[in-house]
C-alpha cells in the first residue's frame, strides 16, 4: 500500500538525521568539544610584582605600588559620548584623547581596553563611586615600579622599559610576553631574570557576552626575588648631594672584599619617569641632554687616568728592580728627549727625590725617568696586573674595558713603532691609555689590601641566598713595592707639600693620589683615589670630576668630605 511509501520516506529521512548526528557528535565530536571550550574559556594574565631592591641596611630603594588604570569594555560602552564626556571632566583629559586611546588599544569587544593609565587612588575611588553612571568603565589595578629615592642611586638600580619585538622573539621561550617590562640599565638589567616574577594566569569561564561567570583555574603569579645591595643609601645620598650638578662620579668600596658602599655618577635621572608614559617629553629631554645623564660615567666611560697612574709606573720600576727605594733622581722642572722638552707641573722643579717623595710631589720628571728605565711594555704589564684593560666584572651592565697600549699594540693598530716620548706620557697616565673609574678604584684597593685584586660587587643577597662570593686574585707585585707605595700615598695626603693635602681628615690616616688628566680641550679631568685607614684599610675611594680642574683641589676636597661622612656613619 502507498502508506508504506510514506513510511519508507520518513524512516529513511530519520536515518539520515541519525547519520548526520553520528558525524557531528561522534566523528567530529572532539573538534566541537574544543570549539565549545574556546567559546567559554578565556585566559587572563595576572601580572607578577617584580622583586624589590633594598640597601645594605634593609632600607627600601625600589618597590611596587598599585597603579590604577581606567579601562572600558567596548561592548558595554553603550552611551559612549556621555560616558567619555564625564570621564574627561573628572580626569581632566580631552575627550578626543580618550577616543584615540580606545581606538589604539582596542583588542576585542569583550576585553577591557585601558584608556588612561595611573590615575591615582583618589580619582580611582571617585570613578569607582560613579560606576553606576559610567556603564562599561572599570578600574584595573596592576603593580607598578616605584623608585623611592628618585634620582638617588638611579645609576645603580637602573630603570625599566617595555620589551621590544626583537627581544620578544629572542626571549619568548623564557616566558616573556608582550608589554612586559625589562630592565634597561643597572641592577634592573643585570639581575632582570631574578627580579622579574613569573606571570600567573586565570582561566575564567565567560558567557556569550564575555562576562565572567566563573573561575576554572588560577595559577598564582610568582613574585620576583628581592635583591639586597651592599650600598648604604645614606652615604649614597650624601655623595650625590655633593655632586649635585657637577659631572663626574665617585665610588667607595671595601678594598678587602670588593663590596661597594656607594656608586655615584652625576648627573643622574629619575627612573620613575620611564615607568609611566605620562611624561614622554621628560624622557626625551633625558635622552637628548648634552650632559648625558643616562650614562654611568664610572663604568661606561673611559678616561685618561693622569697622575693616579703613577702607582702603576712606580710598581713597574720598583718590581723590575730598575730603581731601589733609595734611588734619588733629580727634577729641574723639565725633561728633554729628542730635542723636545717634557715639563713637570712645577716649573721650578722638585730637585733630588726618592720614589716616596716623588709620589708625594707627583713629580712628572721623576716618573719620566723611571718609566724609561722600566720600558713601555713593563708599564703595560703592570697595568694589566693591576687589572687595567679588562672589565672589573662589577655586577652592572655594559662595562667598558679601557685600553692598555704596548709596543705590539701600537704596531698592529696604528702601524707605527712606539716612540720613546709616548713612554713618558705613559708614565703620567696620558697618551693612548684609557681606564674606567672602577679600574682605578680596584688598583687603589690592591695597595690598600696588601696585594690582591677584588671584584667589585653591588649585590650581596638575592632573597635569602648570599651571593657575595668574594673573588680575591693575588697580584704579582712584591710586598715591599706595595709598602713603599703606601708610604708614598700617605705622604701625598699627610705631608707638608703633598698634592692631596685637601683630602685629609682630622684623626684619620688617609693615603691617596691625585690626578689631573689632560684632555683634548683646555680643561682637565680631576682625579682623587685613596683609602683609609692607611694601615688597616676599610674603605677605598675614587672621585672623578669630568673637566673638573686639578685633582688636588675639588676632587681631594670631595674625598675628604666622603671620608668624614664614612667616619660619622661608623665605617671608619
Amino acid at each position: 500500500m502507498r502508506i508504506r511509501i510514506i513510511g519508507i520516506v520518513i524512516f529513511v529521512s530519520l536515518f539520515l538525521v541519525v547519520a548526520g548526528l553520528f558525524y557531528v557528535q561522534v566523528v567530529k565530536g572532539p573538534h566541537y568539544q574544543r570549539l565549545s571550550s574556546q567559546n567559554r574559556i578565556r585566559l587572563l594574565t595576572i601580572e607578577s610584582p617584580r622583586g624589590r631592591i633594598f640597601d645594605r641596611n634593609g632600607e627600601l630603594l625600589v618597590d611596587n605600588r598599585i597603579s590604577f588604570d581606567v579601562a572600558v569594555i567596548p561592548q558595554e560602552l553603550k552611551d559612549r559620548e556621555r560616558v567619555f564626556k564625564k570621564l574627561s571632566k573628572s580626569l581632566n583629559i580631552p575627550k578626543e584623547e580618550l577616543g584615540k586611546a580606545l581606538k589604539n588599544n582596542f583588542v576585542t569587544p569583550f576585553q577591557p581596553t585601558k584608556i588612561v593609565f595611573d590615575i591615582g587612588k583618589e580619582k580611582a575611588i571617585m570613578i569607582e563611586e560613579e560606576r553606576l553612571d559610567l556603564p562599561g568603565v572599570i578600574i584595573e589595578t596592576r603593580p607598578q615600579r616605584h623608585y623611592v629615592n628618585k634620582n638617588i642611586g638611579s645609576h645603580i638600580v637602573g630603570y625599566l622599559g617595555q620589551i621590544n619585538s626583537r627581544e620578544l622573539t629572542r626571549l619568548k621561550s623564557y616566558g616573556y610576553a608582550m608589554n612586559d617590562l625589562i630592565g634597561r640599565a643597572g641592577i634592573e638589567k643585570f639581575f632582570n631574570n631574578y627580579l622579574r616574577g613569573r606571570h600567573g594566569g586565570m582561566q575564567i569561564e565567560v558567557n556569550n557576552r564575555g562576562y565572567q561567570v566563573g573561575i576554572l583555574g588560577i595559577k598564582e603569579p610568582v613574585k620576583g626575588k628581592d635583591i639586597y645591595l651592599t650600598v648604604d643609601i645614606r652615604l649614597q645620598e650624601f655623595v650625590e648631594k655633593i655632586f649635585e650638578n657637577a659631572r663626574g662620579g665617585a665610588c667607595v668600596m671595601d678594598p678587602r672584599d670588593g663590596q661597594i658602599l656607594c656608586l655615584v655618577s652625576s648627573p643622574a635621572f629619575d627612573p620613575n619617569l620611564f615607568v609611566s608614559s605620562k611624561n614622554p617629553a621628560g624622557i626625551t629631554k633625558l635622552l637628548t641632554s648634552d650632559r648625558y645623564p643616562m650614562l654611568n660615567r664610572l663604568i661606561q666611560c673611559e678616561y685618561p687616568p693622569g697622575s693616579v697612574f703613577k702607582i702603576v709606573t712606580t710598581s713597574a720600576a720598583l718590581d723590575k728592580k730598575k730603581i731601589t727605594p733609595n734611588t734619588t733622581l733629580s727634577c729641574d722642572g723639565s725633561y728633554s728627549l729628542g730635542g723636545k722638552s717634557f715639563r713637570c707641573w712645577k716649573k721650578k722643579g722638585h730637585g733630588q727625590q726618592t720614589i716616596r717623595e716623588a709620589i708625594k710631589n707627583s713629580c712628572n720628571v721623576f716618573f719620566y725617568q723611571i718609566a724609561r728605565m722600566a720600558g713601555a711594555d713593563n708599564i703595560a704589564l703592570y697595568a694589566e696586573r693591576y687589572g687595567f684593560g679588562y672589565p672589573t666584572g662589577i655586577d652592572l651592565p655594559d662595562e667598558k674595558s679601557g685600553l692598555v697600549p704596548n709596543k705590539k699594540w701600537k704596531l698592529l693598530k696604528k702601524r707605527e713603532p712606539w716612540y720613546e716620548g709616548e713612554t713618558l706620557n705613559y708614565a703620567i697616565g696620558q697618551g693612548f691609555l684609557l681606564v674606567n673609574t672602577m679600574q682605578i678604584l680596584r688598583m687603589t684597593s690592591v695597595v690598600a689590601n696588601g696585594g690582591y685584586l677584588v671584584k667589585p660587587y653591588l649585590v650581596k643577597k638575592i632573597e635569602d641566598v648570599n651571593i657575595s662570593d668574594v673573588e680575591k686574585r693575588p697580584v704579582e707585585i712584591s710586598e715591599t713595592t706595595l709598602n713603599i707605595l703606601r708610604d708614598g700615598l700617605i705622604k701625598v695626603v699627610n705631608d707638608e707639600g703633598g698634592t692631596g693635602r685637601r683630602a685629609a681628615v682630622e684623626g684619620l690616616t688617609i693615603a691617596g693620589k691625585t690626578g689631573t688628566a689632560q684632555t683634548s680641550t683646555s680643561k682637565t679631568h680631576a682625579w682623587f683615589t685613596g683609602f683609609a685607614p692607611a694601615d688597616n684599610s676599610k674603605a677605598a675611594l675614587v672621585v672623578f670630576l669630568e673637566y673638573g680642574g686639578k685633582g688636588g683641589l675639588g676632587a681631594s676636597k670631595t674625598a675628604s668630605r666622603i671620608f668624614q661622612k664614612m667616619r660619622d656613619l661608623g665605617y671608619l
Binding site: 502508506i3 510514506i6 520518513i10 548526528l21 557528535q25 565530536g29 568539544q33 570549539l35 558567557n207
Partner: protein
C-alpha cells in the same frame, strides 16, 4: 460500545507522547536554568499548564467521532484562514513576525492550528469518492486549499510553517492514490520555479539560506545560531555533558534554545545517546501513527492519519536537521519538545485525532 471503543485505544502512542513531553520539560528547565531574565523562569510551569489544557482537549477530541470533524472541516478551515488574515492585521509582533494573538499571558498562533484544519479540509475533499476521479484536474482544488493559507503564513512571515504544508499535501495525495507521474510533473514544475522564488524571499530569509551554505560568512550575525547550535550538539560527543551542564546552553551561547533549538540542548547535554533515544521515541510515535493509518478501513481516517504523521515527522526531521546544521534555519518547533502552547496544543490535538481514528476502526 464504550468498552469496545477503548479496547482499540493506543496506549503506547499516548505514553510515548507523554514521555517525549517530559523530556521536553526537563530540557526547557535546563535551557532556562541560568537565564538571568525572570520572564523566562516560569516557562516550565507555563508549559505544564498548557499540557494540562491539552490533555483535557485531547479527551474531548477523543470522545467525539472524528467524522464530525470531517463534516465541519471546511468551516473550521475557513475560520482558521480568517484568523490568519486577522493576525496579519492586528497580531503581535515577535522576532519581526506577526504570528501571535494574546490571551492573557499566553500567546496564540493560528498558523499552528492551521496545520490541523488544513489536514481536515484536505481529508474531507480527497476522501469523498464522488469528487475524486484520479484526473489531473482534480489536483486543482487541493492545491488551492494549500496555497491560500501558505501565502498568508508566508506573509507573516513564517517560511517554515508555510513550507510544512507542502509535504503534508503530497503525502496525502500519494496515499489517496494520485498517479505518481502527475505528482512528479508538479514537483519538476515547482523546482524549476525555485530561482524565481529567491526574489520573493525576505532579506532575512535569503541571509539564512546564504549562511546555510557558508555559516562562517557572518559568524556573529546570521550564521551565529547555526554555528553555536552545531558546536553545542557536536560538543555533546557520545554521552553528553550531563543535564544542566551544557556549557553552550548554560552560558547562553545558544539563542532560542527553549523553542526552536531545544534539540541542541538535548544534543549537548545528552550526547549522541540522548539524541538516539529521543529520535527512537519519535520513531515509535510515527510508526504507531502509520499503523493506525494502515489499519483503518476508512478513507477519511487514513488520509487524516497520514497527514498528521507526515506533519509530525516533517517537523522532527527538519528541526533536528536544522539544529545539527544540515538544513537551513527555518523557524519550526520540535513537536512536544519545544516551548510553545500553540505548538503543543496542535500536536496533542493531532495525537487525539490519531487515537480517535485508531479507536474507531470499522467493524469487519
Amino acid at each position: 460500545m464504550r468498552n469496545r471503543l477503548y479496547r482499540n485505544f493506543d496506549r503506547v502512542l499516548l505514553v510515548v507522547a507523554l514521555v517525549i513531553f517530559v523530556i521536553g520539560i526537563s530540557s526547557i528547565y535546563s535551557a532556562t536554568y541560568t537565564e538571568g531574565s525572570s520572564a523566562l523562569r516560569g516557562l516550565v510551569l507555563k508549559q505544564c499548564i498548557w499540557m494540562a489544557v491539552a490533555l483535557v482537549i485531547l479527551f474531548i477530541v477523543i470522545s467525539i467521532d472524528y467524522q464530525r470533524f470531517v463534516d465541519f472541516a471546511y468551516i473550521l478551515f475557513g475560520l482558521n484562514v480568517i484568523l490568519l488574515i486577522i493576525v496579519l492585521i492586528f497580531g503581535r509582533t515577535r522576532f519581526g513576525a506577526q504570528r501571535w494573538f494574546s490571551i492573557g499571558v499566553f500567546g496564540f498562533q493560528p498558523s499552528e492550528f492551521l496545520k490541523i484544519t488544513f489536514i481536515l479540509a484536505l481529508s474531507s475533499y480527497l476522501g469523498s469518492k464522488a469528487k475524486f476521479t484520479y484526473q489531473p484536474s482534480d489536483l486543482v482544488v487541493p492545491f488551492i486549499i494549500m496555497l491560500l493559507p501558505l501565502t498568508l503564513i508566508y506573509m507573516q512571515p513564517d517560511l517554515g510553517t508555510a513550507l510544512m504544508l507542502i509535504p503534508i499535501l503530497f503525502s496525502m495525495l500519494i496515499v489517496r492514490g494520485v498517479r505518481i507521474r502527475h505528482l512528479l510533473t508538479i514537483v519538476i514544475l515547482g523546482l524549476s520555479a525555485l530561482p524565481f522564488m529567491w526574489f520573493m524571499l525576505k532579506d532575512y530569509q535569503r541571509q539564512r539560506l546564504s549562511v546555510f551554505i557558508d555559516p562562517n560568512a557572518d559568524p556573529l550575525g546570521a550564521g551565529y545560531t547555526m554555528i553555536q547550535s552545531r558546536i553545542a550538539i557536536g560538543s555533546g560527543f557520545v554521552f553528553g555533558k550531563g543535564w544542566l551542564s551544557g556549557t553552550q546552553n548554560q552560558l547562553n551561547f545558544l539563542p532560542e534554545r527553549h523553542t526552536d533549538f531545544i534539540f541542541s540542548v538535548i544534543g549537548e547535554e545528552g550526547g549522541f545517546i540522548g539524541c538516539i533515544i529521543l529520535l527512537a521515541l519519535y520513531c515509535i510515535l510515527i510508526y504507531r501513527g502509520l499503523k493506525i493509518a494502515q489499519t483503518t478501513g476508512d478513507t477519511y481516517g487514513r488520509l487524516m492519519a497520514t497527514g498528521i504523521v507526515s506533519m509530525i515527522a516533517c517537523q522532527v526531521i527538519v528541526n533536528t536537521g536544522m539544529a545539527s546544521g544540515f538544513m537551513p534555519v527555518v523557524g519550526l518547533p520540535l513537536p512536544l519538545m519545544s516551548y510553545g502552547g500553540s505548538s503543543l496544543l496542535t500536536t496533542m490535538i493531532s495525537i487525539a485525532l490519531l487515537l480517535s481514528i485508531g479507536m474507531r476502526k470499522p467493524r469487519f
